[in-house]
Amino acid sequence: MAGDSRALTTADHSPVAGLAHDARGGISNVVLGMLLFITSEVMFFGGLFAAYFNVRANAPLWPTINPETQHQFHLEMLPLVLPATFILILSSFTCQLAVWGIRRGDRTAFLRNISVTFLIGIAFLIMQGTDYVILGSEGMTLSAGTYGTTYFTLTGFHGAHVFGGVIMLGVLLYRGLAGQFSARHHDAVEAVSLYWHFVDVVWILLFSLLYLLPGKG
């Protein structure tokens, strides 16, 4: 049964194999807390997605009619949406490189990659803000019917989560520069990377839903 008892050892098997765990095989409190938080966030975004699908399914036309112009909204691929999507996906890789760096005790690689991730997060927020300005100039606002409401609610809440992630990355960068992380002590890095990957996955779903799913009517 010795083999069975080792089956729960996260270092041996789990997808987050490098996560900090105590001597008996559990995972650290920080990572545990973040995983539970992400679980609640899945259901939070689940509610938003469910509302979107429900509104969309019950609308005779999707995108809906712009109440101001009486023309159907036409959400074209905005100039900055694709680059923003690309860099956000890229940031997941740089974030993971930072995690791998600190796991092997390479602080230079950690700091370099976490800095890039931090900057990409800021760039994404600026690009999203620019897209909002473009949409606003075309009459699509939060109050422009159900289409505008669902679009800005979904992307806005995602943007708020990216903003939260950027703050966490900033804290990691600050603490990293202060030399607070090592191969042995870096629970916060693991936790923030999990959050950042989650935010990235949500954006990929949102992008597919809003820009790739064909309309109806």
Partner: protein, 64 residues
């Protein structure tokens, strides 16, 4: 000893819920009823949430 043992088995817990969501959608579609997309979405994502929770319970358990 935890019945699921391997943390990766957590995915099967989530699949139960997600599969229920897919069946829920399939039955409504086949029967020609109004599809409850909100319910289907929530069930599928509940599967994701349950997977993570099950992972936490299994991977976070001590080995002894």
């Amino acid at each position: 000893m935890h019945p699921l043992r391997h943390p990766r088995n957590a995915i099967f817990v989530g699949l139960l819920f997600s599969a229920t969501g897919v069946v829920y959608w399939g039955v409504q579609s086949i029967a020609g009823w109004h599809v409850d997309f909100a319910g289907v979405t929530m069930l599928i994502l509940l599967g994701v949430a349950m997977s993570i929770l099950a992972y936490v319970l299994i991977a976070g358990s001590p080995n002894d």
